[in-house]
Symmetry: C2
Subunit: 222 residues, 2 copies
DNA sequence: TGTATACTTATGCAACTGTATAATTATATT
DNA sequence: AATATAATTATACAGTTGCATAAGTATACA
């Protein structure tokens, strides 16, 4: 009957793990990887530090799990955006989604940079990175292949691979610029530049095929 | 007359600062930002931890100084590479230099990622970032402007700005891909992709204008 | 050659870190 | 309602961190 002992409820192993992963992601996004201590993460998860070790072999194991979760969610989110009648429209929607909020944000860059500092020093983090990178690029390559075939210009695999690498670089680079210096770019500017660049690169009219969220309406409602 | 006290020489304030900055950069590049403690950095600089506080207000101040130094060196190095008879050749050489070793390397990405995690949380780091980013992009914009003018297609500033943003994104994105997954790309593959992509984007024949360091010779001499 | 002084080292400390271990308690099962 | 068990909290600890302070010394300058 210790009156100052924290009361608690059991919510099941899976939910508990999820809460800890969510806590880890929230701390890294908002306060940076250096602030992601076991105590800080546990506090976010509404839990005592010791519990982390009950569900994960170590803090690093939790970090890897959070990395995997985050990349998986991101891939699924952009993939869901890639809809449209034509292959070109699907490619354009995919690019567009990746170059707007909420994908473009300081928090997202913070998360990504934090993970990056561990990728080169942890085998598990490295394998997560390699896998998720490959997934993203393969998906992009499929979209590019479909769009070129649709335009009557099917390309061999070697050319498609190079196109996918380049497209990925454009998206990553613009995403990074936008997340780091959000003030430097107007509303849909990054998405426009991305569509124009990749359109010229593939010689496809992506810019007009993109779904144009009306900037004016957005500005007025703000 | 303590026999076990470390002997030392005075090398002058500027050299000492330089040694500490170099030590900080070396530790971050090789062991990551988390390993860049005052003790580790001091050891690299051949100095006692306490001395850091004699030359810098704090460890963070040394970090900012190192960031500034690193970005300055990088900009100067790539700028020096941007030589050539024609404007197109200068642009091509600039792109090429940024997409090959030693600019493309795991150590460079390690440094950059480490700094990135602090940019969003330190005003001084943020100003260094904004300044060096602007310098790099402005230089790139000048090269693009010259190349387009040379081709008889001068472009207005607004278009040049967008081109520079896109070129920068391509270079950054490819640089990052290469540094993170060096095994995934053949020798000059990234540089080729970069030149091809930006060439198609600007509708300029950059690919043939690039200086072709002979890969075969490089392989043989290794 | 002496000496003042800035440079450099040595020591200590409070705060924080990840994690091991022990004690408690919510809850499923009977 | 009693009980067993796993979930959760509490406590402790050794190592590390940035930094303040004190002590020592290389060297420029008289």
């Amino acid at each position: 009957m210790s009156p100052d002992r924290k009361s608690f409820r059991r919510i099941g192993p899976d939910l508990r793990r999820d809460a800890m992963i969510a806590g880890m992601l929230a701390v890294i996004a908002e306060e940076g990887i250096a602030a992601a201590t076991t105590r800080a993460v546990a506090a976010r998860a509404g839990v005592t530090p010791g519990l982390i070790r009950h569900y994960f072999d170590s803090k690093d194991a939790l970090l890897s799990a959070a990395f995997e979760r985050h990349m998986g969610d991101l891939t699924e989110a952009t993939r869901r955006m890639g809809q449209g009648d034509s292959a070109a429209a699907r490619l354009a929607a995919f690019i567009d989604a990746g170059l707007r909020a909420p994908v473009v944000s300081a928090e997202a860059v913070s998360l990504w940079a934090g993970f990056l500092t561990h990728v080169q020093r942890s085998a598990e983090m490295q394998s997560v990175h390699a896998r998720t990178y490959a997934e993203f690029r393969d998906h992009l390559q499929g979209l590019v292949a479909d769009a070129l075939r649709e335009a009557g210009r099917p390309a061999p695999d070697a050319a498609l691979r190079r196109h996918a690498i380049a497209c990925n670089a454009v998206i990553d680079g613009l995403w990074l610029e936008g997340g780091m210096l959000s003030d430097a770019f107007a509303g849909g500017e990054l998405a426009e530049i991305g569509l124009e660049t990749i359109g010229e690169m593939l010689n496809l009219p992506l810019r007009t095929a993109a779904p144009r969220y009306d900037e004016m309406t957005k500005e007025e409602t703000t």
